[in-house]
Amino acid sequence: MDTLLNNLDVFVDGFALTIQVFLWSALFALILGTVVGAMRVSPVAPMRAVGTGYVNLVRNTPLTLLMFFFAFGYPKLDLPSVSYTTLAIFALSLYSATYVAETLRAGINTVPLGQAEAARAIGLTFGQSMSQVLMPQAFRAVIPPMMSVFIALLKNTTVAAGFSVAEAGAIRATLSERGEPAIIVLLWVALLFVLLVAILSFVQRKLENGLKVLR
């Protein structure tokens, strides 16, 4: 307990940055993932190909490797210099976007074709059938798996600690300078992560029960 209380500043700063990185990456991953997901289900063949290529390539790239490239390679390219934190957010967003895209695609595929046909048969326009019939159903199917993607993203933010981002995963390194025992510090960090994940899982379960589609 003393380890936590005596170094509360480090813990608070670390987890504050973790949550910041998490929220920004989630936002960008959601935007990019929606674009890629839309490309994956679009009627235009080249768009589908690009979406598929992106997902297959990035999904099979270790996140550590992506961060490695951004942290060590990017500064060598004479592009506008940005902080390590921003670079980590880039890598996390690019990586998580593939999971967001696949989740959206799977969600759309859960809606039976008959729903769209029935909507058209009763004379709904494209906009109406999208907004009144298809999207509400797809949205419900997407929310619980999307929370899983965010839980993974939250855990993945720790990788940034290996690349000069002073977030929760880096608390051990900071506190080893103050002479705190590594094991106690790490167990506290682990416990706090378990709590954060538990909160997300709780929200997920609530949403899952509230949004269940009975077919």
Partner: protein
């Protein structure tokens, strides 16, 4: 082709699609051209920066690092499959004093970020007297605890997806609980879950890269080491490209195996949403 989102396109839509397709291709080519141009302008493709990777000694080193990566992956994959089965047995046990602790164990290790787990092994244990913990042991133990927990849940999702009649019929002909699990449920569940299990093994392979952060001497470690050689112009980008090519090829190969099994057994992971969700949560 017609699906939920759109009908088969007519002549006007086909023309429009052709334009949109062309714009997409131009945009993608532009992005790639920009990145390549940055590489060329900052001299990433000069002979000086690539000379290092023509030396046979360096080839041997890269092979060594690849084997180190594969060793950690292979051992962790086998151990997490075994741990996954053990945890599954504990989880479905009728005795609450076994099933409850197993449940807590699984939930705990799924929630702790893998890197923190590796750090606990590597930085936390040696001061307590466990001085035998090398980076290799830290990486393999971390991967095993984490993925074993995930796999046990995948196995369980597979068993729960089976029709109830399977277990009921087996009990009806007088099989014991162990027999039902071993001879009826597990073989079917493993078969149904095979693509998801292999996808999870791809996650194991990807996550061996975390070993870099706890100083395991695998491909990324080598990438950084060679990238910092001033005599060869500090070729960090070329060395990242080389190691990335190896890493991504290995992962694509394994993902290809998952796809092959999926096509062959005709049971996509999409059929079991719960299992797919588990893998997504662990990726």
């Amino acid at each position: 082709m017609s699906n939920v989102l759109f009908d088969a396109p007519g002549p006007r839509a086909r023309v429009r699609h052709r334009y949109i397709g062309a714009i997409t291709l131009v945009a993608v080519v532009a992005i790639f051209a920009f990145i390549l141009l940055r590489f060329v302008e900052t001299g990433q493709f000069t002979a000086e920066k690539w000379e290092l990777f023509t030396i046979p000694f360096v080839h041997a080193k890269i092979l060594e690092a690849t084997i180190a990566t594969l060793q950690a992956f292979g051992l962790a994959a086998v151990l997490s499959l075994i741990l996954g089965l053990l945890l599954l047995v504990g989880r479905v046990s009728k005795h609450r004093w076994i099933s409850v602790p197993t449940y807590l164990f699984v939930e705990l290790f799924r929630a702790i970020p893998l890197l923190i787990l590796m750090m606990i092994m590597y930085y936390g244990l040696p001061p307590l007297g466990f001085s035998f913990v090398t980076p290799f042991i830290a990486v393999v133990t971390g991967l095993t605890l984490y993925n074993g927990s995930v796999l046990s849940e995948v196995f369980r999702a597979g068993i729960e997806s089976l029709p109830k009649g399977q277990a009921e019929a087996a009990y009806a002909i007088g099989m014991s609980k162990t027999q039902v699990m071993r001879m009826i449920l597990l073989p079917q569940a493993l078969r149904a879950m095979a693509p998801v299990i292999v996808s999870q093994l791809v996650v194991v392979l990807k996550d061996t890269a975390l070993g870099f952060i706890v100083t395991y001497q695998e491909l990324l470690y080598l990438a950084k080491f060679y990238g910092a050689q001033p005599n060869y112009g500090s070729p960090i980008i070329p060395s990242t490209i080389v190691m990335a090519a190896i890493y991504i090829s290995l992962c694509l190969l394994l993902a290809g195996v998952a796809k092959y099994i999926e096509v062959r057994t005709k049971r996509g992971p999409a059929k079991n949403i719960r299992a797919q969700q588990l893998v997504n949560e662990a990726a």
